[in-house]
Amino acid sequence: MVASHPAGAEATEVATTPSREGPELFGIESPLGHIDYRAGRGLHLGATTLTIGGYTTADAERLEDGSSRGGLDVNFFLSADPVSFLHLFSEIEVGELVDWEGGGRPHVSPQLKVERMYGDASWSDGANLRFGKFLLPFGRWNQVLADPLLWTTSEPLIVEEVFHEEVTGAMLWGNVFPGGETLSYALYGSFLDRAVSEPEHDGVGARLEWTGRTGVSVGASYLASKRTDGAWNHLGGVDAFWQPHERVELSGEALVGEGAHADGGQWGLYAQAVVETIPTVYLVGRYERFNPPAGGRGIDLFDLGVTWVPTYYLRFKVDYRFADELDDLSAPGLRASFSVLF
């Protein structure tokens, strides 16, 4: 990625070839340049700029209704920066690599899915164009949809139920730095969804996010999407993230929607607190409220869990979801997972 730049005759005494961050577990010189693997940061193929990495998650759950299941998924990342103004990225999921339900025997039924595939063309910090399939920039949680990055095994209902996770289209995005703080914007359209037979996901949207010097961050998102009957859904949301202390993280999101796929409006929110109680062990609590469309009953959920992060690329999670109903949406019970970023 970065070439060696020896300066002067004394350069031979000091290695001036930068290395990638992280402990090198494997490294070899090749005609492609230095090929190395770093834990949690992928395999980098020298001068090709190609990096291959990803994550894997094994999870299991036993719910209060008596059901149980488990599985193993693997997601691969491929990224490359062939020139300084172009960044290519793809995430490919091999889902349900191993899967089991109830007392049944595990079965292997791998399913391949391209989760994301896009290119970013950059002219400056403030003007970048993303083209392809990418995560919908609505709210905060939906932009880090990977088990090794999350504190609980389950997603909040407002992330899981209300909008489609991905967009296939284009997005203009960028960062500006008023007063040394960060203002990020994104304007996107999902017009290419037609090409992948998902016309119900056609839509346009915008997101604005401000991150202060102290780490406080607030965001606002809007999405208008076309229903199959030609009418439009409108969804608006706000979100926030705050680290009042190095060991404390507070976050939350709220959204409200009109004209959802079913009739009527919907709204919901979640608030989450994470505290490092002893080094590498985090206590996590999350409250959720979700009022589904079509006059569905409002749901209150509370998740309480423990996450152990022995090192930055490993994550063990155990959490329990409490709910006042035993329906499929609430799904209270015990969940656990183990994730490796590779």
Partner: protein, 142 residues
């Protein structure tokens, strides 16, 4: 349900320990002598978090870090990035999810000096006492 959550937040905040104090050290932030840009501490933060990726003339910024565990890097992380190394690792995990990697590292401050002296796009840091006239100091951190 709501009251239970509020009670949990209060308890969690109360059990969190107080911050540790850090001894300040004098750090010089350096660029190539031909690079006329001035950097504020806030802009340096954006560069090392790779939110700001381009110099004003449109060329890509090459930020250089020392290797993990280096004492000067820990000072730099706290003073400039305002985060501990584990918190930064969380941040870089989220960036890795988009194929964005942390700044490249060099094994010594001598190597940083040599590299920055040779690359007009680079920015690095080293103890103020090690600076010579092959680079330009754009910021001093106490």
């Amino acid at each position: 349900m709501g009251r239970r959550f509020l009670a949990l937040v209060v308890v969690l905040v109360l059990v969190a320990p107080a911050s540790r104090a850090e001894e300040p050290r004098r750090v010089a932030v350096i660029v190539h002598p031909t690079r006329q840009a001035e950097l504020s501490p806030e802009m340096l933060t954006q560069i090392y978090l790779r939110r700001k990726r381009f110099w004003d003339d449109g060329t890509p910024i090459v930020p250089l870090n020392l290797e993990a565990g280096a004492a000067l890097r820990e000072v730099f992380s706290r003073v400039v990035l305002h985060q501990s190394e584990p918190r930064l690792a969380e941040y870089w995990n989220r960036q890795y999810f988009y194929g964005v990697l942390p700044p490249a590292t060099l094994a010594s401050t001598k190597a940083v000096l040599r590299y920055v002296a040779a690359d007009p796009n680079a920015v690095g840091y080293l103890p103020a006492g090690e600076v010579d006239d092959t680079v330009r100091v754009v910021l001093r951190l106490d």
